[in-house]
Symmetry: C2
Subunit: 361 residues, 2 copies
Amino acid sequence: MKRARNFSAGPAILPESVLEKVQSEMLSYKDSGMSVMEMSHRSSLFEEIISDAEQLLRELMNIPEGYKVLFLQGGASLQFSMIPMNLGKGGKVGYINSGSWAKKAISEAKILKVPNIEVLASSEADNFTYIPEIPETDEAYDYIHITTNNTIEGTAFQTIPRFVNAPIVADMSSNILSNRYDVNDFGLIYAGAQKNIGPAGLTIVIVKEDLIQTENTLPSMLDYRTHIKNDSLYNTPPSFSIYVAKLVFEWLKDLGGVEAMVKMNEEKAGLLYRTIEESDLFSSPVAVNSRSLTNIPFVTGDKDLDAKFVKEATALGFLNLKGHRSVGGMRASIYNAFPYEGVKELTEFMKAFEAKEGKFK
Amino acid sequence: MKRARNFSAGPAILPESVLEKVQSEMLSYKDSGMSVMEMSHRSSLFEEIISDAEQLLRELMNIPEGYKVLFLQGGASLQFSMIPMNLGKGGKVGYINSGSWAKKAISEAKILKVPNIEVLASSEADNFTYIPEIPETDEAYDYIHITTNNTIEGTAFQTIPRFVNAPIVADMSSNILSNRYDVNDFGLIYAGAQKNIGPAGLTIVIVKEDLIQTENTLPSMLDYRTHIKNDSLYNTPPSFSIYVAKLVFEWLKDLGGVEAMVKMNEEKAGLLYRTIEESDLFSSPVAVNSRSLTNIPFVTGDKDLDAKFVKEATALGFLNLKGHRSVGGMRASIYNAFPYEGVKELTEFMKAFEAKEGKFK
């Protein structure tokens, strides 16, 4: 069976070699007679898996001492609540409203009645088509929250803001391991696994340990200290997803790590952006200086023509190109595991579609 | 590769035919060119999976109208907090303290500062070796919480208590679909998937809809109303685990449903209990009238001999027989997918071990 050109924004394409490895170990992992799905999370076999996964992620992201790596559940959506619960210490908290998910993060902080929520910058009035300019401040904040890559809108921070008196908390769900970042620039990084890492149901949190000094009494499962103390084994973790993540990390390391990946992502995204720029039919709704490497929306400006494009593309095996229901148009999500060849085929189809339709923007 | 005799308490053994199906669909589910892990949770392919999973579970458990089925994350441990958050309405809440997990449920309710927590019965003073007698009451409680099966201690409720003015909330993690239950006897049932259902990272909640009338403003991810309203697709669900669960439900239905399963479980457990009763070496630490069908602890009364038994059993491919660290001894977890043949082999080994050791209790 031919593999699809799967442009899904998440859950998203995984490396074929990883799926083949998972397949080969499905009934017996390392001659244990058990699938990883069947293994006690307290067994030495699984402890090796989770420990290797952490070590590999530390290598790939060059995570310094003093930062803990946690394997949690609940997605970025649960982190929207856990962050204010754990890092809010009664001072001000800041948010950059750069996209639909950032907006949800803000509304969850409001539900918790966190005092002094400040939205420091927003591009909402312009449909989140760019990353807003971040004001400088030396005031103290318990944290300032950003979304490094806005999955739905297709924008990304090109540089990470620095503040003298505020740690940066970053939702990195859609470009973790796809872009160059220095973990030292962040107090906390979180990411749902289902875009660049593995199956849905696993959430990665990388947190600077000295930020975790809350005096709040929190439900155990919502308290980072619980998971730090128990090395993510307080209760049964999403063990199979952690195993797949480990295999993805190995694959990424074998290919040359994040640096090699960024280079490939720049080539893939570069080809697609060039095709859009040179087109008389397609255009990008996103400001050039805010472009994402991983999620690339494009439109014809005509809803019916967009729908026709998506339909014909789907028939040819280019799947999940329909833009998010809140934005419309098309969106190609091209995470690490998406091959260059697939982007090339898409651009060729875009040119053929444009020639056939003979319409111009 | 021969499959192990895997007695793990969870994550636990899965049906071999299910693993083979997962293996065969790993690189392309239904000729889609995608693994289920790679599929958008908004795709029609995945919507069919989650909808089939719900329908099958409804059939298997005969879930009445008026009850919602939710596919969540965070394990039973997160439910320990979500239950008082969502069902606590300021009245009294009752708990039966029948085991280590029940105790954790109580302590999480206390962390939330729920008013009027009453422990209505407890066997803690006797190391949870039996299900305590439940007092009758017609007083009003927002809910009364029980643990139908105590995984660590190997005890189970033989009948579900009924109260005039209190809905029963049940942690059914270790015997959902393994015992006969009438969903009408419960206000809410919850279970981590990793024992009888599928991979860890999925939590099933079955809740009577008219109980969800809280006026509390809760974080969206912790609010049952969010997940009810969105059919468990508020955010990305643990999609691959839901797919495996669906396959397990199909397997169970093909075998004759819960009734057939209970019969098989009674045969498996019966054989093991008989072997223990007839032994001069092994004994059960659990009261006869509180015995679990799914988790069966046994001891020699001699720690060194216990360790020797576990070591020799492991060498023969009887895995994960060591009792929970808080209890010691041995424990055989024999959920639905554990074959009768494996229990038979274990009992034969127990007899051989006893003959060889020549020690008597």
